[in-house]
Symmetry: C2
Subunit: 490 residues, 2 copies
């Protein structure tokens, strides 16, 4: 005790913004990532796993999410290697890897990567400083066929993990079209351009009228506060509004509207032509607008992308914190970014890719009841006689050989109530009991813990008698009877 006073005990706590994942939280994620990896692999993408640690120099100092507060990396100085840091995404390491190994890698190089990334930001509710990313990128392909492929890949991934067709849509836009619109508007001032882009991002929330107001003098928001406008004239704002409202009933309609919105801009025309190609490629493969559609309101990571951008949105409704219905929303996004390795080699290499939001997609699967409904623990073999541990371990070995998850109670067996409490905490469906009497008679007791819990809660005395939650069976029938009980629980 005196010693304890001298050195205070360490706190048993994760640092803020970090957390532990238990049981199904881990296995459900692994399984989802395995399914996605299967699709990536089938499309010819190769796995890549780089280390968590990179030189700060190789990572570069620019994070992709420029509008996040307090952005940053976890970094430290190494005696020999200078400043090192934890990767903040999987794209910066891809750039380093491609530049380092480009002589050995195929060109184009399709790669996928999955793993944790770290952000040194203020943590908040649901915002962690370590989280998973799951990316697929194609390096070195100029053709928009690469972008179309990424969109199809994304749709396939969503269906494979359990999002049914109709519950998602991959929306495609092109930064070049947007640049064309800004060109037509004659906006040269960077700050004004940025303000326009931010306004476009609000279209989903405020609608056409709202956007007109925000591009002009300003707008009263729902809380009554006045939001300063960008200060454009109605005429200047015209192309933006035309662009945002250009979504038609078919891809062809949308493309025609976009062509009108970009007027005589060459870059805009290039963007529309690319979208047209993407739509045609996807259409030919049967990815119609029920799965992938052109949608001018998709903006995404403004400073980062240079061509097509995509976003996968889940369209089914959930209830928000306040009980209001809303669409589930975005679970993945990406696009073309054309200067991947230039920083390292001086040579421009185009790339396009997608990042699936692992936690968001898991949450969606939970909402859809695709995962999380099954939280059954192992069968627990209780210990009635500690000298016969070998008998009990033989039972669990038999159950496991038959594919049934099973364990023997390893705590102090003295108090049987503790063993049943343990089984309860483990969410065990079945407990097996073999005391001295059972042993002598060549039988075991099998207790249905799920039925037992139901009866304890609801049943009348009649039902209690009618549906015994514990049965005695010959020892030789252990496996068959446990299986039957598990099956009866559904």
């Amino acid at each position: 005790m005196a010693k304890d006073k001298k050195t205070p005990r360490p706190k048993a706590q994760t640092p803020k913004g970090f957390r532990d994942y238990f049981g199904a939280e881990v296995t459900e994620r692994s399984e989802m990532l395995r399914q996605i990896a299967g699709v990536y692999h089938a499309y010819g993408f190769d796995a890549l796993e780089s280390a968590a640690v990179e030189t700060v120099e190789a990572l570069g100092k620019f994070l992709p999410d420029v509008d996040r507060p307090n952005e940053g990396v976890f970094a430290w100085e190494d005696d020999d290697e200078g400043w090192l840091a934890l990767r903040y995404d999987l794209t910066a390491p891809l750039a380093r890897v491609y530049a380092q190994h480009r002589n050995d890698l195929p060109l184009p190089y399709r790669r996928y990567a999955m793993g944790p990334v770290w952000r040194n930001e203020k943590p908040g509710p649901g915002r962690f400083r370590q989280f998973y990313q799951c990316d697929a990128d194609t390096v070195g392909a100029v053709s928009v066929a690469a972008d179309a492929e990424i969109c199809a890949l994304l749709a396939d991934c969503l269906e494979v993990v359990g999002i049914p067709r109709g519950d998602y849509v991959v929306r495609v836009n092109n930064r070049k079209v947007l640049n064309g619109v800004l060109e037509v508007m004659g906006l040269k001032d960077d700050e004004q351009r940025a303000a326009v882009l931010r306004t476009i991002d609000k279209f989903d929330k405020v609608g056409e009228t709202g956007v007109r107001e925000l591009l002009g003098k300003g707008r009263l928001d729902a809380s009554g506060a006045f939001i300063e406008g960008v200060g454009l004239s109605d005429a200047q704002a015209g192309p933006v509004v035309a662009f945002l409202t250009s979504k038609g009933a078919t891809s062809a309609d949308t493309l025609a509207n976009l062509r009108a919105a970009i007027g005589g801009s060459a870059i805009g025309a290039e963007g529309v032509a690319e979208l047209e190609q993407i739509a045609a490629l996807l259409d030919a493969q049967g990815y119609g607008p029920d799965r992938i559609e052109i949608d001018p309101s998709v903006v995404r990571g403004l400073g980062y992308y240079t061509g097509p951008v995509f976003e996968a949105e889940l369209t089914f409704e959930i209830l928000d914190d306040k009980g209001r219905k809303r669409q589930f929303g975005s679970v993945a996004g990406g696009g073309r970014y054309d200067d991947l390795v230039k920083r390292f080699t001086g040579q421009a290499v185009p790339a396009t890719g997608v990042s699936i939001g692992v936690d968001r997609l898991l949450a969606a699967l939970r909402e859809k009841g695709r995962i999380g409904s099954e939280s059954r623990g192992p069968v627990v073999v209780t210990v009635m006689d500690r000298d016969r541990m070998a008998d009990y371990q033989t039972m669990v070995a038999e159950l496991r050989s038959a594919g049934i998850r099973a364990e023997v109670y390893l705590g102090n067996p003295k108090n049987f109530g503790n063993q049943l409490k343990y089984a309860d905490k483990r969410q065990s469906p079945v407990a097996v009991i073999e005391g001295a009497d059972e042993k002598a008679n060549g039988v075991v007791q099998i207790k249905d813990l799920i039925l037992g819990a139901q009866i304890a809660e609801n049943a009348s005395l009649e039902e209690w008698k009618e549906r015994p939650s514990q049965i005695e069976v010959p020892r030789a029938d252990l496996v068959a009877q446990v299986r039957a009980m598990l099956d009866s629980q559904g």
Copy 2:
């Protein structure tokens, strides 16, 4: 260019001691870990994934491998959280997790964990600063039934991933027996005890005579250098030698010899009794000495373990760097360590567990030809007419729907030779070609790239004619014919 001179380009390089894993290196490891997780889960172990980052305080300053040079962690100071560090193993986080969540976790708590750990050490050949661990531990079980279970679990894991019975043995010892031997020897001096333990660890290499010399005056090693001895008399050294040579033909013989070696030591007797129980439990479940055996020469992590220790050794022979035969050696180890969470809570909680050396086991599977033999890439559909990309993407979609990994060439299609070079770099088994003529005739060319390579290397002109490596088939038969070609390649 002027700009490039001002800011020199970053080096595209991993920091020393870190590396990238490509393709099968990633997928083979994932698959092996998935198989092991399946066994852990069947035994009732629950997954746990803690963050890579812990407070230095929670990790503690003592690393498990006390005899590693330049041991250390990667640590940095956080503005709000104080000193943070990357975890150096999966056991220290388990201690923190158990202390933090003990009210919600079952007791005993069986957990498994898999993931990277980081060591701030001098890297060397085959020694990396980030590597995988794969652990299973039982927290809160006093009974050696928990230790026996870990041994059985380990044997099952090895067989599941593809190490056949007979090619491995799990060796079990008990630190208490060793402590009994040291007690009988009357060694009180810590330094002398440590020297004796180090000597025991050399038994495999130097044999009985060598150990006698090293415990006594010293020994000339193979290079002619003189190794200073511990300085014990022959009589003092007796119990150690008896202990080391106590392995008999059966477990019973070994146990009898151990009982003799520990003389009247109470702690020694306790250790022998525990080994006896473990042997009996495993025997009852059919884990005989062909899979798990008592072996007094197993020492492992001297300062760390307090009871039973285990080591999985692969017994098949490989050739070392110099072409000499040697056994593959250890791939996993563990044991009982009884003060897991005391540092946090003041309460002693016993634990026992095993850690599988992921890279070692993968290397073993490669040696056995269980993995790595198959490195076939995807089918490559070439692009003969860039305006018909939709046709080519439709072909790969058809192939993928039939479960065949396939991709379209996304580089510049102008030079067909480059497309075949690309297919070669991708290790593609089959290339598909559809030019304007084929399109007009409703056919495609299917090229067997594996046969083609063989013929190019070995075939006579006769064979060349007899076994065409390229066939023309109706477009409608594309999938069936590609499958047939893949099947013929075995």
